[in-house]
């Protein structure tokens, strides 16, 4: 899980995942359906053209005003391998980690749709070889990486009910 490779898929600033990627405003629709239409209003065709393993490269405040963790379940279904953005909505950021979705705060300038990227979570590095981009980002804390590796908070606690994450962060 420390190294993620995937293609960039671009989405704009201030995207609320509650509105565009959860059932909040589509009551009764399940994750399977939403995964086929997610982000349609802000980026037509986004979900249809999404390939398993692609990385969402979003503008600022991705997940702003969003609190539903179902949005993260939908993204898992779409095959999202990680999300990078200059900033995230607070609750969305937490939900992503609790549900095993890597999220990295990073400058996204210069990255365009289809760029192959490599994300090193432990070292804190984003590389886009075709654009000669190498960006250092603060590495994710060990606690967060342990949660991500376990697949999220609940699987983590089933393995470690004592919260013992070992190492530097406790």
């Amino acid at each position: 899980m420390n190294i993620i490779k995937g293609c960039a898929r671009i989405i704009g600033d201030e995207v609320s995942t509650d509105i565009h990627c959860s059932s909040k405003y589509l009551p009764g629709k399940d994750a399977a359906y939403i995964a086929t239409v997610a982000f349609e209003q802000v980026a037509p065709g986004f979900a249809k053209a999404f390939n398993k393993g692609d990385v969402i490269v979003a503008g600022k405040n991705f997940g702003i005003n969003s609190s539903r963790e179902q949005a993260v379940h939908v993204m898992h279904r779409m095959g999202v391998s990680a999300i990078i953005a200059p900033s995230f909505g607070r609750q969305f950021y937490r939900n992503a980690i609790n549900n095993g979705m890597p999220v990295i705060e990073c400058d996204i300038s210069g990255i365009v749709a289809g760029d192959a990227m490599e994300i090193d979570l432990a070292a804190g590095r984003i590389v886009v070889p075709a654009k000669n981009i190498t960006r250092a980002v603060p590495p994710l804390p060990a606690t967060v990486r342990t949660l991500l590796e376990a697949g999220g908070l609940i699987p983590f606690l089933q393995k470690h009910p004592d919260w013992n994450v070992g190492g530097e962060a406790a």
Partner: protein, 427 residues
């Protein structure tokens, strides 16, 4: 180096020493809450874990407030599941009509100064009014609290906001937060905690302080903490809370930013349609026609809000063409307002009163869908396009005083210009 209130409370719950901003800690959670808009999926997942793995389930309250009463089958079924869960595991439950989570938790005595409290709702920052670190989480987090009594937190940096001087009559905590939203922008305090201090805070009644901490969610704040004083202690005692463990910031605490607001000269503010940070002073937009006036929600559905509205509408009628709905934030507030005769005043003026709950806050509750081109003025907290079910309507946000004054005249109105607009409870 000193510490902020947030660093101290999180540190105390994570082993004892104050934590530092930026650190990730695993902390003991004193109390948690899950409401009906989140419980559906979460409770199914939690039930799978089994009673044996939920030793802390009794310190998690279940609140049926968003769908109160249920607007669809799904919500009705979730309610049945929540009641069954509470019966089976012994969790406290607040049923339909009891009130909004952020109101019933403090009223139920579930939290006190120095506590760490989480809820499945962004406005869980409200508990900061009682000097408790309150923050919004999701169903997964609440499951983790039921299982282990603990959660992980990133310790936030803090912005210290000094409110200089008591607010003028007709000006409320809502106007302070709107001012902050105009300054910092929506989510301008993303990931950060706020600490409000100064004579402006001391002068505020608890109802207004709760607005201050609650509405910080629109700034993106993770928590919005106030120091405790005699008013806090008296309120908590009256509601049966545990003995307070007040936490103060150190004089040399490190802040990400310091802001001073001259609250003594502040005018009432409104956020114009669609953006909570498109804030202007009411006098600058006075005269804008409105058709619907809403008072309620976890931000401004408290007794002082209803008292202020009644003071303005006493013996009067709503302007022609205006409809008004009042939704008290809790059953206790409903009862108090009834006993004080406020509902008689408001009903005679032409307003209607709904049972306590989230009410007209957002279209998911099914309570109010705006018509095309309708202009709504609301004491709620959010006004994005379509929040009341119709992207062609406008939602303007202001204090209960501004909403009631506007309902009286039919146009956006500065409460300071109408009789009764200067009401405030004697401190």
């Amino acid at each position: 180096m000193g510490h902020t209130i947030a660093e101290k409370i999180l540190g105390q719950h994570a082993g004892g020493r104050p934590a530092n901003a930026g650190e990730i800690v695993v902390a003991d959670v004193d109390f948690a809450m899950i409401h009906d808009a989140r419980a559906g999926n979460a409770l199914k997942m939690i039930e799978k874990l089994g009673a044996k793995s939920l030793p802390h389930v009794k310190r998690v309250a279940l609140v049926l407030d968003h769908y109160s009463p249920p607007p669809n089958m799904e919500a009705a079924n979730t309610h049945v599941a929540m009641r069954a869960f509470a019966d089976k595991y012994g969790s406290p439950l607040y049923d339909v009509g009891d009130g909004i989570c952020h109101q019933v938790l403090p009223e139920g005595g579930h939290l006190t100064c120095g506590d760490l409290v989480v809820g499945t709702d962004t406005h869980s920052t409200t508990y900061g009014a009682f000097n408790a670190f309150g923050t919004g989480v999701e169903g997964t987090d609440v499951s983790a609290v039921m299982m282990t009594g603990k959660l992980w937190f990133r310790v936030p940096e803090t912005i210290r906001i000094e409110l200089n001087g008591p607010l003028q009559p007709g000006v409320w905590a809502k106007d302070v937060t709107l001012t902050m939203l105009g300054k910092l922008g929506a989510e301008g305090a993303n990931y950060r905690a706020l600490e409000y201090c100064g004579s402006g805070v001391s002068a505020m009644a608890i109802d207004d302080r709760m607005t201050l901490s609650n509405h910080a969610a629109e700034l993106g704040a993770k928590a919005a903490l106030l120091e405790a004083d005699e008013k806090t202690f008296a309120w908590l005692k009256a509601h049966g809370a545990a003995a307070p463990k007040p936490v103060k910031a150190d004089a040399d605490a490190v802040y990400a930013q310091r802001i001073v607001i001259d609250t003594a000269t502040l005018a009432p503010q409104v956020a114009r349609q669609h953006n909570i940070d498109d804030v202007v002073a009411v006098p600058d937009v006075a005269g804008k026609k409105i058709q619907v006036a809403l008072i309620g929600t976890c931000t401004n559905g408290r007794l002082d809000d209803i008292r202020q509205a009644a003071a303005i509408l006493k013996g009067k009628k709503l302007a022609k063409g205006v409809r008004m709905i009042i939704t008290p934030a809790s059953r206790a507030i409903y009862l108090a307002a009834m006993r004080e005769g406020l509902f008689e005043i408001l009903t005679a003026a032409g307003a209607s009163v709904e049972a306590a709950g989230c009410g007209t806050c957002v279209n998911i509750t099914g309570h109010y869908i705006a018509a095309d081109d309708q202009v709504v003025i609301s004491s709620a907290n959010r006004n994005f396009k379509g929040r009341l079910g119709n992207p062609k309507s406008e939602i303007w946000i202001g204090s209960a005083a501004t909403v009631a004054a506007s309902a009286l005249t039919g146009v956006v109105t500065d409460a300071r210009t109408v009789a009764g607009g200067d009401w405030r409870a004697a401190a």
